[in-house]
Symmetry: C4
Subunit: 208 residues, 4 copies
């Protein structure tokens, strides 16, 4: 029987992904720097002045956390892993591991009064969009190759594909918003993460 | 049967949390810097002079270690995971991953002869308090949603809730102590961690 | 029966290796630095100017990802682990954990108009070659000690050994190419990673 | 039955320890810095000049690798975990996670022509000694509390205790050697790691 070893393969894929998510979410803290004070300067206002760092940290933490929860939910439905799935999953992990970089750059330029703030916001949003595209690609591949549990009809498949593709549109739109306002982009991404968290909790609570 | 997959979900949640705890506890070392010596300066006294770094490292290591042990004990009693549990657990992990930042800031300002030492101590204590609140919230949620083993009567539930909420009060009090003395705060937090470790060992030894 | 505990041993070996791969692949991001801008300088061109950082990041991510997939495939065929296998695996992990260092050095010197670019490329290629040698050594050891599933004839064994040794030759050749052009070396390594990924997907799709 | 859940506890303890070992061994690379070159300076000799960094990296990698293998072997014999074992294991992990710090300091001062080289070597050796003491303490606790498989007679227990305590003596002696020569200390520690690796492989090959 191949079932046993296929399940094992999925579980090692999940373990590796969990590891990458856990490390990426924890590495975010390395971008937080204690403010460098001048003689006689007070710590508390200097810390408050660093708010973009904390806002960006919190937002990226929330996004990676929700991505992990979704990755978890998605893989619970996946029965078998093929090499295609492994490489699409690596593509997703590429954008996951990259996120601390645009997060730090976004925080650094959030209050710039120049186009740089918008560019940093757009790069951040582009990273999220690319992660969302990888998510959709995984699900599309999984459906096409029948790697999921078999009790899914055509309508359910389409519905789930639309649901997993939703992030692509949202985050793609954030790239545009970036050129309106960097701070609005950060707020929007954060609110989306919060909304998404609660929406998921509610949905599950209602159906299960 | 849903039991099988629910247990699987709890185990992946634990694995992810273990990863985050393991990384956060190991990243603490990145805040330790070899002293920069001037020509002819001796390493040993320079190293001793850095004692706040080591004291803060040791304290945060002890706290994260004990948190992990408690997380472990708590999740051994949890049978099923819902999305609410996953998000409350992420909230706990947010404070766990953040800890290296206030640890480093606390060490840096521990010997300041200004309010900055107190502020750094208070921020550190606030981080611990927020983690303790998340811990209580997880247990409260777990009891309310009956996600634990079913052989727990009302009195036991209340007792366990009080026990898990104890840290909130203790660490909350440390925020106040911070404004008396930063060094006393660090000592207190460390002694609490040591006491808690031994108290746990003794309790278990007595009952099991 | 020893089978149970031997399988357990292999699984902990895999879990440890997964951890190291996951961390090494995620630490790569720490080498990416937000460009330091002068007054009035624009972020976007400064970011584009940093392309060697991103190219090296992407290439090392792809290589570590494919190595992980191959490690995974290899260990699925390994039934038992002895101490020799554990130490050869540690040797492989040595080169895996080292990779962020030559990656960063390669990116830093990629555009140097001096021998330094070639040296950095050669060191990078040498790291990959040493990893490939460790890979072959693991497989050679595994075959010699009969640690694999027993349904493999002599021809299959030789064929698999050649297949796993292929990387040694390829990456070894890249050391030579380094002294022709550093940029060509990076391109070559990246293309090899991409080719290897697709070739693997196709092969599996055809046979399974 | 308590067996099931006790085994689960050991496995989560092992998973957490594996995570910490994997992260500590991978973080070592962050201490390696690409040499900063002056205008026209060549990379290769600058890299060779950094040999203490690489020697210290290799030595610490070998030690952590062997510690992990020994941890693995030890825990395969442990059937149940109590809170005492969890805290002694945390004590071991404290010294494991700390190691990158004295490693980096050792490398930095290895070629100093002053007492600083000896102090750095002694601190490094002390870290290893403390880890070895924690190892012995774990095994002593495990024997005293009968947490191992039951088919061990008194003589075997004493023999195993002596074997696990060997490292304490060896690394303790290295603290003394540190004040003779820092470079000799590094060589000795490295050779011990290599010897230990091969000795283990041979022993197992002979008995199993």
């Amino acid at each position: 029987m191949s079932t046993q070893s296929d399940l094992a393969e999925t579980s090692r894929l999940e373990a590796f992904s969990d590891g990458v998510f856990a490390i990426a979410i924890t590495l975010l803290v390395l971008e937080l720097r204690s403010p460098e004070l001048e003689e006689g300067e007070r710590l508390w206002p200097a810390l408050l002045h660093e708010w973009p760092q904390f806002a960006a940290y919190l937002t990226s933490f929330a996004i990676l956390g929700i991505m992990w929860v979704n990755h978890h939910s998605m893989f619970r439905q996946i029965q078998r892993a093929d090499r295609g799935l492994m490489f699409l999953n690596l593509l997703l992990l590429l954008w996951v591991t990259l996120l601390p970089f645009p997060t730090s750059m976004f925080a650094e330029h959030l209050e710039d009064h120049s186009i740089n703030a918008n560019v940093a916001a757009a790069v951040y949003s582009a990273n999220l969009t690319l992660a969302a595209i990888a998510f959709s690609a995984i699900w599309w591949h999984v459906l096409r190759k029948h790697l999921v549990e078999h009790d899914m009809d055509r309508a359910q498949m389409r519905k789930s594909l639309i649901r997993y593709s939703f992030g692509t549109v949202i985050y793609g739109a954030c790239i545009g918003v970036s050129f309106v306002s960097a701070q609005l982009t950060l707020l929007l991404v954060f609110l989306l993460a919060v909304y998404y968290a609660f929406e998921q909790v509610r949905t599950r609570g209602g159906t299960a």
